[in-house]
């Protein structure tokens, strides 16, 4: 199990991600009870049903699923989870930047998948605010050191809208 880091602490994860078993299709898969993070394909196929059945809705995007496609739906989501199939796959950093900066998504933005200590600083800067740290990794040390690698930054980002050169005294 991944360890959820949220609000500067290890948190209990109340969300379950719907996974399609072999042979199941987005159109036919049974929708379970509870707080569910739906894969993009299920959301696309069952949008009306999901909206009518669930008060709290989560969405999972893979790196090749463009955020533009859900831009108009963002108000429905409590959680948007962006998957890192491998930590060296950096597409979700752009997805996160766009969700926060261009589409002004205000809900929880969660990094899932191959989420490791040494990328937390970057993730935080592009706008993630929860992190499903990979199983077996040291969450306590990640909280202590992973978010504070650098005390300032040059560029604009979600967490700092002004570049350093505009913040000079």
């Amino acid at each position: 199990m991944a360890q959820l880091i949220k609000n500067n602490a290890v948190a209990v994860d109340t969300w379950k991600t719907l996974e399609l078993a072999e042979g199941e299709t987005p159109e036919a898969v049974a929708l379970p009870e509870g707080d569910i993070i739906f894969p993009f394909a299920v959301w696309q196929a069952r949008k009306a049903e999901i909206i009518s059945r669930y008060k709290r809705i989560g969405l999972l995007l893979q790196p090749d699923e463009p955020v533009e496609e859900i831009a108009v739906d963002l108000d429905y989501f409590i959680v948007v989870a962006l998957n890192f199939p491998k930590f060296v796959d950096g597409r979700a950093y752009s997805s996160a930047s766009l969700l926060r900066q261009r589409y002004h998504y205000q809900g929880e933005l969660r990094a899932v998948g191959d989420v490791l200590h040494d990328q937390l600083f970057f993730m935080q800067r592009v706008g993630f605010d929860s992190y499903a740290l990979k199983d077996g990794k040291n969450a306590v040390y990640a909280l202590e050191a992973g978010f504070s690698s650098f005390s300032d930054s040059y560029q604009t980002s979600t967490s700092q809208a002004q570049p350093h050169f505009r913040r000079r005294a």
Binding site: P66, F87, V88, D89, G90, R91, Y93, S94, S95, S97, R102, L116, H117, D118, Q119, F121, F122, M123, R125, V126, K137, N138, A145, S149, F150, S151, D152, S153, Y154, Q155, T156, S157, A161, Q162, P163, H164, F165, R166, R168
Partner: protein, 557 residues
């Protein structure tokens, strides 16, 4: 040159501590090898054939003497007493221990140096013209914008894990000396209707699939440099291929989409970023530009130099026109015959630092041709500089000549190499060791890469040599007619590859064809363009067994 302020120092220092922590977590097993690899690469640390290799950045080629002396200290203390200058404004140490690297980086941080993003799939060291700020043909000094790009690209949170490496070059001269047509982004500064801006070239690169870049925007005012690069990087980060490392560079994406469609997407992305907070301010441009103000030149006139032959030769090859009267830019050749091109010993580093302190305002540059430049030498002191450089093995008068070879470390050091490159360079240097002959041959670029990754820029050599691996043996493919500069283009392969032993003969045959056919005042490239590749090809393969005869020869052996 640029001097760090509080944030620059802080970030570099924090980087050292971050890396120290990463090394220690890797040693304790908390970080797996696969998890550590991209982290160490983004600190320039490779694991090579014999030992790790640490690649230190020399941003846009500028260095002061404290920095060079520190590199000498590192070479003596942690390496075997020498270092190697690469073709992209870096110094590589070939023999450090991984566990020493945090300490090495801490030493470097003391003099405002680092190894940040010198490798890995991220934005690499920004490169430019080695004569920036002093060249007589300069339109705009590219260094302030290069420094602004350095800061912007350092720890950019969105672009730390790109599909592949990403290299930016910027030039501000009439004659392009920064190979801008062969970078992921090439920026050519220019003035249009009194406004400073730049042309944006994207998707060039050497390597496995050499492609000349294409113009994505003819002119963009300087204020938009960061937002526009950001738009290009975002399109690439999202759409560049990640399924195949050999097809992951932006050049492949630009080819796949077509430059019009690619430009359309960049412009669409940029429309959102344009005039946003990342737009450069005049105040910031001025603040950075102030770091690159001209040194306190004395009033001097251009002078008549001593006519001593050896000195005159060196002056002819090693000096470059300066925009200030009475001054000249001096190139110190790191291509002494028989030494690995680009290598420099710790003692030579100290000597160069002394020379720079005494004769060139305490600063120096390195070139992508792997030489060192003292950019501001008074003509009246050239003779003294020559004598001191000569005594240190730094005055071989072969800059721009056949033996001033650009060469990667090759199979002697590099894990990626298919073949050795240094011994080929040395064998060619030995063959053309006669200075009269070398001068008679005249201007010619010979570039050697030990594999198709093309660190030795063989595609743009007038004569290019590429090491290839055939059935576990090392062979060399020869290209002709490549060139850098405004008319940059790729060389053409002349035919089947040669063995290492054949290479000096092959080069000599090519040179002979040129000498026999040249018109007065024609350089190698001029003759080549006039007579075409066939005479060279025919001579290179003359009397060489091929087809059945070659098979028979092999059989007999």
């Amino acid at each position: 040159m640029y001097k760090y302020d509080a944030i620059d120092r802080q970030l570099v220092t924090e980087r050292v501590e971050q890396f120290r922590d990463q090394v220690s977590r890797w040693q304790s097993g908390e970080l797996t090898g696969d998890e550590f690899r991209p982290l160490r690469l983004q600190n320039g640390l490779y694991v090579q054939r014999h030992a790790p290799m640490l690649r230190v950045a020399v941003p846009y080629a500028m260095m002061n003497t404290a920095q060079l002396r520190k590199l000498a200290f590192v070479a003596r203390t942690y390496d075997k007493g020498y270092g190697h200058f690469t073709t992209r404004h870096n110094m590589q140490f070939n023999w450090p221990k991984i566990e020493d690297c945090p300490d090495i980086l801490a030493h470097l941080a003391e003099v405002e140096m680092h190894a940040i993003q010198t490798s890995g799939n991220c934005i690499r060291n920004v490169t430019t013209d080695q004569f920036a700020g002093v060249a007589a043909d300069e339109i705009i000094d590219p260094r302030p914008l290069a420094e602004i790009l350095r800061q912007w690209s350092t720890f950019h949170p969105e672009f730390a894990f790109l599909p592949r490496k990403f290299k930016i070059a910027i030039s501000g001269t009439k004659e392009d000396r920064a190979v801008t047509w062969f970078h992921d982004i090439g920026l050519q500064l220019q003035v249009l209707n009194g406004e400073i801006g730049f042309r944006v070239i994207v998707g060039g690169g050497l390597g496995r699939t050499p492609i000349r870049g294409q113009i994505v925007r003819e002119f963009l005012p300087w204020q938009h440099i960061l937002t526009y690069c950001e738009a290009i990087l975002r399109v690439y980060n999202r759409q560049g291929r990640r399924d195949n490392a050999y097809k992951a560079r932006i050049k492949i994406l630009v080819q796949a989409l077509g430059v019009e469609e690619f430009a359309k997407q960049v412009e669409a992305e940029w429309a959102h970023l344009k005039d946003g907070p990342a737009t450069l301010t005049q105040a910031e441009y001025d603040r950075i530009t102030a770091h690159f103000s001209a040194p306190a030149y004395e009033r001097a006139d251009d002078i008549e130099l001593p006519s001593e032959k050896a000195f005159a030769r060196w002056v002819h090859r090693s000096t470059h026109p300066h925009k200030v009267a009475g001054y000249t830019a001096v190139t110190l050749s790191l291509k002494q015959h028989g030494i690995a091109p680009g290598d420099i010993t710790a003692d030579q580093m100290d000597l160069v630092a002394d020379l720079a302190d005494r004769y060139s305002f305490g600063e120096l540059r390195i070139s992508h041709e792997q030489n060192i430049i003292l950019a501001d030498v008074k003509q009246s002191e050239l003779y003294a500089v020559w004598q001191a450089a000569k005594a240190g093995g730094l005055a071989t008068p072969n800059v721009g000549l056949l033996t001033g070879i650009i060469c990667c470390p090759g199979g002697d050091f590099c894990d990626l190499a298919n073949a050795k490159s240094i011994p080929i360079a040395n064998a060619i240097q030995a063959r053309f060791d006669n200075l009269d002959y070398l001068f008679d041959i005249g201007e010619i670029d010979l570039n050697i890469s030990g594999c198709m990754n093309a660190c030795g820029h063989h595609h743009v050599g007038h004569i290019g040599v590429l090491g290839v691996d055939k059935n576990d043996s090392e062979f060399y493919q020869v290209t002709l007619g490549g060139r850098q500069g405004n008319e940059a283009k790729l060389g053409k392969v002349i035919g089947p590859s040669f063995s290492a032993d054949e290479m000096p003969d092959v080069v000599e045959k090519i040179i002979k064809v040129y000498l026999e056919n040249r018109h007065p005042d024609e350089r190698f490239l001029d003759t080549f363009d006039r007579i075409g590749i066939d005479p060279f090809k025919n001579r290179a393969y003359e009397g060489r067994a091929h087809g059945k005869a070659k098979a028979a020869q092999k059989e007999a052996a």
